[in-house]
Symmetry: C2
Subunit: 499 residues, 2 copies
C-alpha cells in the first residue's frame, strides 16, 4: 500500500477557530520506545502550568507500521491533525525494510510544513561544550531543493537529480526567518548559499534574501558562501544568531549545530506550515532504555514550550521554560547529563518533571532567561507575481552517444538541424567539447547539445518538436530536453564553459 492511500480524500480546509477561553485542542502522539514516558512527563508539566490544552491522542509508529500502514499513521489520525492544526509528537521507531515510508516526510509533504526550525543552545557550564558559547536558530527550507525526489537515470553512465528552487518557496522561508528574528528578540539573520557556483538557483535564494532583508531594517543580515559559513559555524558558533538556508544545507548545518551544542538530547524542533505545525524532540525513540524511567524528557518538553509560543500562549511558554532552566542550573539532572561539578541530584524521568513543576514561577539566575511574546509568527502565502515576458531562445537536447568523438556527434547532429535551430555547442558534464575542446577532457556517454536560432531570434515551441523529430529520424538517441528562455529580456540559462 502507498502513503497517500492512507490519507482521506480532500476535505474543505478546516477552519480551526475556537473560542479563546476554551481549551485549545492539540494532537499528541505518544510514540515508541521512551516516547510514552517522556510524553507523560511533558503533559504533566503542561497541566501543572495550566496550559489550557485539550489533548487529542493519535496513534503513530511501530505498531501502526506493523498493521500495514506504510507511513506509520492511522488513516483516522489525519482528521485529528487537520482539525487541531497542531501536533506534539513523541519519537517513533521506524521498522527497517521495503515499503516503509518516513512518517515525518509524509506529514511534512502532505501538510506543507515548509519551515524546519531548530533552536540550538549550549547550557555551559552545566553541560560542557568545546566552544565559547552557542545560541542560534536554524531555519531550514523544508520542501524543495534536491529533496523534491525527482531523479532519472539517463544513460548507462549518468544519473541525474533535479534541484528546484522557487521564488515563492524562498520568499516564505526567508520571511519566516526575519519574522522569527523580530518576534523572538534575535538580532541577525545569516543566509547560507553557494551562489558563486549555482548562480541561478542559489543566486535566486540570495537575491530574495536581500530583497526581504530590506523590509526588516531592525534586523542585521549577512550572506555567507555555504562552505565557509558552515566551517565558521562549526568552529565559532557564537558568531551566528538566526541562519536561513535551502533544504540540503539546512539538513547538514542543523545537525552540526545540534552536535556541537552538546545537547542533542535536549533540543526541540518545529515544522511549520500555513495550516499546520508539528513539534518534536530531535532525538530518537531509544528503545534500549525504554520503560526504565531514566530518559530525559527535556527535548519533548522544550518542543511543547515552542508549541505554546506558536499558539500565542507566550506567558505559559515563558513560565515553563524558565522553570526548566532553573532545574538545569540547580543541578537536578537525568542520567544522560549528570556528572559535571554542577550536577547535584540524579533523577528519573518522572522526578525531573516534578522538579520542573516545583520551580514553576522561578527564574534562572545564571542561564539566560526565556521570554516569549504572546504574538505568533505570521505564516504567509506569497502572492503570485505578474508573469514576465517569457521568450524561447533555443533548447538543450541531451543525447546518449558512444560512437565517436565530439566532432562526430556534432556532424551527426548537424544533419538534424532545422532552419530555426542550429547546433551551437556540445558539453560533456558541463565542459565544452565542441566547438573546440581539449584532448584531456574525460568523456561520458551523456552529451548536452545546445541549439539556437542562427540569428539569435525568438522561436516557437513547435520548432523544438520539429528538431526532435529530425534528431529521432537521424537515429540519434535523445534522452531529455531543457528549453532556453529569457524572462523580460534577461537570460534564464547558464552559458557553457567558454560559450
Amino acid at each position: 500500500m502507498n502513503t497517500t492511500a492512507a490519507v482521506p480524500e480532500p476535505q474543505p480546509a478546516t477552519e480551526s477557530v475556537q473560542p479563546t477561553d476554551a481549551p485549545r485542542a492539540v494532537a499528541v502522539a505518544r510514540g515508541d520506545g521512551i516516547g510514552p514516558e517522556i510524553m507523560d512527563a511533558t503533559l504533566k508539566v503542561l497541566d501543572a502550568a495550566q496550559a489550557g490544552l485539550d489533548y487529542r491522542t493519535v496513534e503513530i509508529g511501530e505498531s501502526v507500521y506493523r498493521r500495514g500502514h506504510s507511513a506509520g499513521i492511522e488513516p483516522e489520525a489525519w482528521d485529528t491533525l487537520r482539525e487541531t492544526g497542531v501536533f506534539l509528537k513523541a519519537p517513533i521507531t521506524t521498522p527497517q525494510g521495503g515499503g516503509v515510508k518516513s512518517l515525518n516526510v509524509t506529514i511534512r509533504k502532505t501538510l506543507g510544513l515548509y519551515a524546519n526550525v531548530r533552536p540550538c543552545i549550549a547550557y555551559d557550564p552545566y553541560i560542557p561544550i568545546k566552544h565559547q558559547h552557542l545560541d542560534l536558530v536554524i531555519v531550514r527550507e523544508n520542501e524543495e531543493d534536491l529533496y523534491a525526489g525527482i531523479e532519472h537515470r539517463q544513460t548507462d553512465e549518468v544519473y541525474q537529480c533535479l534541484k528546484l528552487i522557487t521564488r515563492p518557496g524562498t520568499e516564505r522561508i526567508v520571511r519566516y526567518a526575519f519574522e522569527y528574528a523580530r518576534r523572538r528578540g534575535r538580532k541577525k539573520v545569516t543566509c547560507l548559499s553557494k551562489d558563486n557556483i549555482m548562480k541561478l538557483t542559489d543566486g535566486l535564494f540570495h537575491k530574495v534574501f536581500d530583497e526581504i532583508a530590506a523590509e526588516f531594517p531592525d534586523i542585521q543580515h549577512e550572506h555567507m558562501i555555504v562552505d565557509i559559513g558552515m566551517a565558521r559555524l562549526a568552529n565559532a558558533p557564537h558568531l551566528f544568531d538566526v541562519v536561513v538556508t535551502p533544504n540540503l544545507y539546512g539538513d547538514i548545518v542543523s545537525d552540526i549545530a545540534a552536535e556541537i551544542s552538546g545537547s542533542v538530547g535536549l533540543a526541540p524542533s518545529a515544522n511549520i506550515g500555513e495550516h499546520f505545525a508539528m513539534f518534536e524532540a530531535i532525538h530518537g525513540s531509544a528503545p534500549t532504555i525504554a520503560g526504565q524511567n531514566i530518559a530525559n524528557p527535556s527535548g519533548l518538553l522544550l518542543s511543547a514550550v515552542k508549541m505554546l509560543a506558536h499558539l500565542g500562549l507566550g506567558e505559559k511558554a515563558t513560565l515553563i521554560h524558565n522553570a526548566w532552566l532553573r532545574t538545569i542550573e540547580q543541578g537536578v539532572h537525568t542520567v544522560d547529563i549528570f556528572g559535571t561539578v554542577h550536577s547535584t541530584r540524579q533523577v528519573g524521568t518522572d522526578e525531573f518533571a516534578d522538579a520542573v513543576i516545583e520551580r514553576l514561577g522561578e527564574l534562572p539566575q545564571s542561564l539566560k532567561q526565556a521570554t516569549y511574546a504572546s504574538d505568533t509568527i505570521p505564516v504567509t502565502t506569497p502572492a503570485r507575481k505578474p508573469a514576465a515576458k517569457k521568450e524561447l531562445l533555443g533548447v538543450d537536447v541531451f543525447t546518449h552517444w558512444t560512437d565517436g568523438s565530439p566532432a562526430d556527434l556534432a556532424q551527426a547532429l548537424m544533419k538534424a538541424q532545422t532552419p530555426d535551430l542550429e547546433l551551437v555547442m556540445i558539453t560533456n558534464r558541463g565542459v565544452k567539447v565542441w566547438p573546440g575542446g581539449l584532448p584531456e577532457t574525460f568523456l561520458t556517454d551523456h552529451w548536452r547539445c545546445r541549439f539556437q536560432h542562427p540569428s539569435g531570434a525568438v522561436i516557437e515551441r513547435s520548432a523544438v518538436v520539429k528538431l526532435l523529430d529530425q534528431i529521432d529520424q537521424e537515429g540519434l538517441d535523445f534522452i531529455k530536453t531543457e528549453h532556453l528562455y529569457q524572462f523580460d529580456g534577461e537570460r534564464g540559462f547558464s552559458l557553457g564553459q567558454g560559450q
Copy 2:
C-alpha cells in the same frame, strides 16, 4: 574574451616520460601578494634537500588578468603545464568584476583534475585546537555533481540546477581514495552521501563505494549519511581517517576540517587528474602582509612535499616533511602561529625556511613522523562497461501553467494524450497533486506530468515527439522533458510520492 580562447588548440597528448636521473621538470607560478616570498622560501628548501627538480616558471594572476586574459593565465603557460604535467602554484589575487573567471576552476576543468585531496592535521599542542586530535584526508570529487553548471530558469517561479553523478566519475574518485589509503598508511575510508533521499544519484555513489571497497579488504570502510557524518566530523574529527564524497559535500567538509584543525594557514592541497596534477596551499594571497617577510610558507612547502610524493620522490618528501615537523615542535614559528608556551623563537618567512633546512635529516620527537613510500598513487581511467538493455517506458513532460487546479491541468493534458502515452500522474515540487492530491499542498507554476503506455509497454522515441506535438497543439506550454527508462529491466527513475 573567454576562458577557452586562452587555451591553445588541442595537441596530441604529451607523454612526459623523462630519464629517471635527469631533473624532473615542474611548472611553478609565484603568484600574487605573499606568493613570491613563500615560493622563494619553498624552493630554497627543495633545493637544499636536493629534490632534483627543474622549475619552469609560468605567469599567472593579477597582472595577467589586467592584461585581458580572463582566466588569469598566459596562453603560452598551457604548453608548459602540459609538458611538465605537474604544477606548484602560489596563491593569486583574483580581481573583482565582470568577465573574470576563476583560474582554479579553469585549470581543473580544462585539465580534468578530478580529485581534490586535502590532508588536515592538527599540530597540538604547538597549535592549540578544541578537539581531541585530528589527522584526516578529504578526497573530494572535483568535476561533477551540481558543479557542472547546468542551470535553467523554467517558469516565472522556478529555477533548476542539474546534479549529475556518473559511474566512471564515481569509480575513479572512490578508487583514488582507496589507493591513497593503502599507499599512505591509512586504515579506513568513510563515504559521505545522502542516499536516503537521493536514491539514484547518491545511491550510485554509495553502491560504487561498496563495490570498490570489496577490492581493498586491507582497508576498513564505512558509509555515513552526510548530515550525521559532517556533524560527527565537526565534533569528533579523531573518528575519521580518509573521507571520500561528491563535489558539494566535499567542498563543505574540507572547509570544516581545515577550520577546526586550527591550521588553515599550514594546509596543503592537491588537485589530481589523469595527465596533470596541481599543488597549492589552501590559503589566499594575503596582499596586506605581502613583501614584509612575515608570511608562513608552510602551506606551500607542504604542498611541495605532496608534489614530491606524487612524483615518486618519497624519500625527499619524507626528508623535508620531518624537518618541518621538527621545526614546528622546537617552537620556531612565524608570527601567525607564534604565541603558545611551545613557541621559542619568532622568525620571518626566509628564516623559517633556513630553520627547516638546518633540520633536514632530523626527525620529530613528539609529533608523528612522516613517511612517504616511493610508489605513486595510480590514477586510472575506468573502462567503459558493456551497454545495458535500455528501454523507454514513458516521459515526464514539465509544463508552465497558472490557469487553474491540478484537475484542470490534467483535463487539458488528457486531450493531448496519444494511444502510446497517457497521463498517469502530476506532481508539483515533487508532491503528487493528481490523481488525488490535498488542498493544503502549495502550488507553484511548474508541473511535472508523467506519461506512460496504458499497458506499461515499452515505447519508441517517436511516441514522445508525437505527444509533444499534441501538447503544443493544445496550447500547453511544455518547458522540458525527462525520458523514463529501464536498464536491464531495472527502473531508472524515481516514483512520485504515492505513485
